[in-house]
Symmetry: C2
Subunit: 467 residues, 2 copies
């Protein structure tokens, strides 16, 4: 919504608030206050104790970093991100290499500082900002299992896909006003309440805001309605999670979202598990067709369902289907760890990227724009973020399985466009947990299992290689 | 833009920021810092010295009020404003009387606290928040002169208006999309740069934001385009002033807008002095006509100009023409001083209001919705605000006169829709002064005179009773 001229001052305002927040968190009195609270922990109930634990985590993150490092990182990432925008368009990795070298070097310093404060490894210390208590020792086997599973599975999926009729996009164009009406209706169908939410447009779709004022965005393409539709369903899953955070702990750390794995599980549960399923599409296809006054077999639920789950190994993560998406993440996860641990020199990144993608998916990017320059994360200083996408996809499958077993009415309701029973289960079991439990404990309580790849692989087998 | 559910949390966020701001301003170290700066004032240049003076003013306002009073006022005005919304619709003054009594009592406490801190009278102490260094001793003669001037003048204006053909609104409806295009174009004509501004819709039009990101709003009526048009021109005047504040002193008190009198002078200069003039309308009428594909004599510049300056004594301030508007303000100014000084008991307000309006304009509201319940100000705790509207109208006339004398190209340029020369004069003489000078000094420097009613009365005579 903001006019371009506001970007600079908005940045300054946010920086000013960050400084105020950081000085409040690192006020000399804070150590004493936290120590006193800890010494009286016997008197706390379970939620209060969890709140104190999360206060200590926030404080530890803030206190571990010297302010000159925070400032240097802020400057370096802002500089690197600006250079990256042009370098990406020019497919010119060399142009951003010096700035990225500086970001990596400062990120290593940050990781070391956090590592010694938390007593965990450098990578896990960085991961903690996005996935509290996340550990690469737990991620490795899950990702390795998927990397081992993928090649044969992908071959089988592509072979089967080839044997079926090619799904086709219904004939367009799809007027944007009608897309807008459709995606608003679909977001409401999932449960989004527009008394407490807005749906706007932006180049890069996102979900933001606060529980009482969710802001989600999408982008519209007159030639293809599926991007806006699936994008909004994805962001609505994020918004529903935020909306369901424990209201009694508003503004308290324990009331916050747990982390990116659970967050992504909620968006992918709605988009991937539910809305791309044949069962849901049987209900949705006529709704979609009527939104565009469509007619003909391309609007049938079978075609639209096949369209929604077409598998196509490609170069770009954000365009990837759910079968190949984890490969993009696993590649980034392995590369960022190697770079952080000094096992991969930055000038070698493009080659390592291309080799890695070829090994995982059998495709090789023709240039770095479609390769190691495609994502903003590293250039913007977000090291340790990537794994949460795929951990979220796995958690989504696991949670959806558990939900359907716990309440047998969930699956048939979704087949009639009714998200009520699903949300009624997710609310207490996932959303309202806030940061009361760790991600592992939330999953263990809700699904009876630690996070693992089995449910996700079963889901993929059932969807892509049905008996 | 905000969904309704966001209002509560937004209020909490703003309150949290206000608390942070207040504690920063009243930090025990602040007294020492200000005293040390004052002791080294010899080393300051004129802008630095003015900045220190404004810092002291901000500090004095914050430090003068005990925090329990600030909190009590915040609660009381929030409560009173909520009750007022219903009471106004029901024309039921009795319903809001207890809440307003509480607001007035706390406002008197606030006025007394500020009064003893600043060494000025209670009313002037409250006025200072909206019009720094404003003094009722200077306002009284100006307002009294206008009140004496008005009755005979108004009779003459109405008699002359009756002798001329009645102006007519061109035939509508006026599609909102076309109004939107027209008012955007007109705002750009004045000088608004939409790279650093937005124009949106709201029930109550306003101007807000920061210089690099101006937000102005209007409302559209399909049956009448003149409200949106003139409203946007008014808000654009506010935005141009903000945009022209001294960039070198951004985020410093001396870089802020001077006060509501200068602010209102800039909106009224654009709307009333320029855009409702026959000269400007000669240029604008064809632009307006073409915006609606209009044809016929009602779209002529003479008719549109007469329409823009129709005088019609009524009950509602915000709907008033520029001749009768000051009467509404003078009434409120006299009444609020009487109430603050204990010379008018609140239960007597409706009667005093109706008597006062009859004396000034010869009309009597049929109920309190059209009388003392119409404006939010008192119910929301804004006592001492009203006079700035009319002081601004007077300053606008004085400033426009001086500008036209200083640069003879200004008037003919405006007759061709070119605001360049006018803005080129206003920028250094008014906008870029920020809070460097007092309102009086800005006017004295820019116009060679103290604020007075003469230019405004001359303007009215020339426009409404031309020889």
């Amino acid at each position: 919504m903001m006019p371009p001229g506001g970007a600079g001052p908005r940045g300054e305002q946010i920086a000013a608030l960050a400084v105020i927040r950081h000085s409040a968190l690192t006020d000399p009195a804070m150590d004493d206050l936290l120590a006193r609270a800890a010494s009286q922990a016997d008197g706390l109930d379970a939620w209060q104790a969890a709140n104190l634990r999360e206060m200590r985590r926030d404080h530890a993150h803030a206190a571990a970093l010297p302010s000159d490092l925070v400032e240097a990182l802020s400057t370096a990432t802002s500089n690197c991100e600006t250079i990256w925008r042009t370098a990406r368009l020019d497919a010119n990795f060399a142009a951003v290499l010096p700035a990225l070298t500086e970001v990596l070097s400062l990120t290593c310093r940050k990781g070391e500082a956090l590592s010694s404060a938390f007593g965990v490894g450098l990578y896990d210390a960085l991961l903690d900002a996005f996935e509290p208590d996340g550990r690469s020792a737990e991620i490795d086997p899950v990702f390795d299992a998927y990397a081992a599973f993928l090649p044969d599975f992908l071959d089988d999926v592509l072979a089967r896909q080839k044997s079926l009729p090619e799904p086709e996009l219904p004939p367009g164009p799809f007027p944007i006003e009608r897309q807008r009406t459709l995606v608003h209706h679909m977001a409401e169908t999932v449960g989004l309440d527009f008394e407490s939410a807005r749906l706007d447009e932006s180049l890069h779709p996102f979900s933001a805001g606060i529980p009482e004022d969710s802001r989600i965005t999408t982008r519209y393409d007159e030639a293809d309605f599926t991007q806006a539709l699936m994008g909004v369903l994805h962001e609505t899953g994020h918004a529903m999670y935020e909306r369901g955070r424990p209201a009694a702990w508003r503004y308290q750390p324990v009331g916050d979202a747990r982390g990116m794995t659970i967050h992504e599980s909620q968006s992918l549960l709605v988009e991937m598990q539910v809305c791309r399923s044949a069962e849901f599409m049987a209900w949705a296809a006529p709704v979609i067709r009527d939104a565009f006054d469509g007619a003909g077999p391309a609007w049938g639920s079978e075609n639209l369902a096949r369209l929604a789950i077409r598998v196509d190994p490609g170069f770009i993560r954000v365009d990837a289907d759910e079968v190949t998406y984890p490969a993009h993440v696993i590649l980034r996860y392995r590369l960022e760890r190697a770079m952080l641990h000094g096992d991969l020199a930055l000038p070698e990144l493009p080659g390592a990227w291309n080799d890695g993608l070829r090994d995982l998916l059998g495709v090789t990017p023709p240039d770095d724009r479609l390769g190691c320059l495609q994502d903003i994360h590293w250039y913007d200083g977000a090291w340790g973020y990537f794994p949460t996408y795929t951990l979220g996809a796995m958690a989504a499958a696991q949670i959806f399985d558990a939900a359907k077993k716990a309440d047998p009415s969930i699956a048939p309701s979704l087949g009639q466009g009714d998200f009520g029973p699903l949300m009624a289960w997710l609310r207490p079991n996932i959303h309202a947990k806030g940061s009361f439990l760790s991600t592992s404990a939330i999953l263990q309580q809700a699904t009876g299992q630690a996070l693992n790849a089995a449910a996700f692989q079963n889901h993929l087998r059932a969807r892509y290689l049905p008996a």
